[in-house]
Symmetry: C2
Subunit: 344 residues, 2 copies
DNA sequence: CTGAAAGCGCTTACAG
DNA sequence: CTGAAAGCGCTTACAG
């Protein structure tokens, strides 16, 4: 465990010169640099991170906060965030908020603020005003994915428009009996994402002059299994069954497709299904969807944050509201088509 | 950003007493403790982590290294590891090795060894001798999930036995034409997990005196999509089609089931399918599987590591080989059944 | 271009 | 039980 002293001694220079040579941020003679580099290599020197942090106040570490890590959206975004950060020499400390309010508080105060991270990325987590004020006081910039945060940077898709677009795709095919499987989980309380997607659906239906029956408006927990159950009920109803389903996520779309098939209904001949996400298995299912390119979204958020961190004038505007709308696109596969003649 | 000095001043004691009172590890008079706690609360004092680390050499941070984070096995294990660690007051720094050999080296030296972590958990990553020696020199214990590591602690299922058990389940139902979809990805080069599962399959077939045709031994990339393609080829073969498929993972099992259905084959009447994992969607698919309880496995590994770290005599045996075999169980659902009469 | 030295904010033997 | 002080291992103004 060679320290900077050892390197200095071996190279025949002071520790100051070692530090300068190795960081590359200051002027050092070529000769000194070479001696230092050789000595460092020979000793297998690796700078102590805590000493660096204590001396500079910088961590080169980003905290990432999310409500789940074992769900597709979150793990996909995390993968991209991590790759981007490591590329730029940053570490990533993961905080999973599955533990409820108490744990959340602990994370925001004890952990995040223990001066361990330089900045924070939240996924589908809405920091409240107090949390934001704390972060601001500590000069930690934050960027939110999955919804806008008053007073902070964010990157997110337009959920309302996505819901509307998905619905309009079905309407344009000639469907009039369109149902919506919305989401209803913890995540949602943070940003009302589910509500917004449904609002988009309702707006599209309304603008087309179509009715929306009560039993076309159902909810599930964003899982395939949850959606399977509600879809089966809905599709089995002899009087009210829809000819198309807009599911708030692809996983719920999978569940709806499986429910249809288990009832002997053909997709898309008897029932059309559209989701949101472009999940890894969506192609296999042939699911038409709104592609939100989650990995690119995560990478972009990480990049944004890094560029914010490297702004030397950052102190004056650590957290300012700046909302980037992430573009999505309609990806048509084989789960949607014109309704069968006579259906209705 | 109140420091320990501020607290000391407000409480009217020395910084040494503040440190003792707050850590709770040393004797402090009740009166002093109260004054300190109040002062700390009033100032919103949070100890600097880097100063703590620099002074003590401890990080309270665990590095977790894995080849993917956006695949089910890894994200599920990660979820459990993170929850367990945070419960015990540890942070988790994530290292995703998707970047190839160069990045791997960087992670093991630059990052892990930068004295940022107290210990390491690897998932389906086999540290080589040099990496292990480095870690050992730095007194960082390591625990591997997903395969045994010579000279280190590990926790993993018995892949050979799992492959055999899955196959025997099919044989016990009367199948004689059993195929295996094995895996072949980066992960595998680390531990030959796929080979071991296949060996178990081959052993079961051999012991039952059954032949294993060449086109029953196929490979895919552990994804549903990859397995779909190979399963479709196999099932469509008029002369060689099997009556049962053992897939090395549930996701590949899903792909096989979908391929069968798309060919008009019924599961399990025409074709039985068994996987390994008990993936979140396995119940929905009705897939019979070998449940390896990934989340519990991750939590157990984290717990083991924490107990290793809290052993005061640790220095003498930082990394010793200690292999824990993680138990698995056969979980029978509706994708496996006796072969149809006349099939063959 | 380089070095001596202060300082980052804690912990912990040591002495009392 | 408590405090003064050294020490953890870096970085960086300051002076030369």
């Amino acid at each position: 465990m060679a320290g900077i002293e050892d390197v200095a001694r071996l190279a025949g220079v002071s520790t100051a010169t070692v530090s300068r040579a190795l960081s590359g941020k200051d002027v050092v003679s070529e000769k000194a640099r070479q001696k230092v580099e050789e000595a460092a290599r020979e000793l297998g020197y690796i700078a102590s991170h805590s000493a660096y942090t204590l001396a500079t106040g910088r961590n080169r570490n980003i905290g990432v906060v999310m409500p789940y890590v074992d769900r597709w959206f979150f793990s996909s975004a995390l993968e991209a965030i991590e790759s981007t950060l490591i590329e730029h020499g940053y570490d990533l400390t993961l905080y999973n908020m599955s533990g409820g309010a108490e744990q959340r508080k602990k994370i925001f105060t004890d952990f995040l603020l223990r001066k361990r991270v330089d900045a924070v990325i939240t996924l589908a987590v809405h920091p409240d005003e107090e949390e934001l004020a704390q972060l601001d006081k500590m000069k930690k910039p934050i960027i939110a994915i999955g919804g806008q945060v008053h007073g902070a940077r964010s990157l997110s898709m337009n959920d309302h428009d996505a819901g509307k677009l998905a619905t309009e795709h079905l309407l344009s095919l000639g469907h009039t009996r369109v149902a919506n499987i919305s989401g209803a989980v913890k995540t949602d309380r943070e940003f009302n994402q589910a509500d917004k997607r449904r609002e988009g659906y309702l707006e599209a239906m309304h603008e087309a002059g179509l009715e929306t029956r009560k039993n076309w408006l159902v909810e599930a927990d964003y899982t395939a299994q949850g959606a399977y159950k509600v879809a089966k009920q809905m599709l089995g109803d002899p009087k009210n069954s829809p000819t198309a389903i807009f599911a708030n996520s692809d996983e719920m779309g999978f569940g709806a497709m499986m429910a249809a098939k288990d009832l002997g209904l053909r997709v898309p001949e008897d029932i059309s299904v559209i989701g949101i996400d472009n999940h890894d298995m969506a192609e296999l299912f042939g699911l038409t969807t709104i592609d939100q390119n989650v990995r690119a979204q995560g990478a972009e958020a990480a990049r944004l944050l890094i560029s914010v961190l490297s702004d030397p004038t950052l102190d004056s505007h650590v957290n300012v509201e700046e909302d980037v709308e992430w573009p999505v696109s309609l990806l048509i596969r084989s789960s949607t088509a014109r309704p069968a003649v006579g259906a209705r």
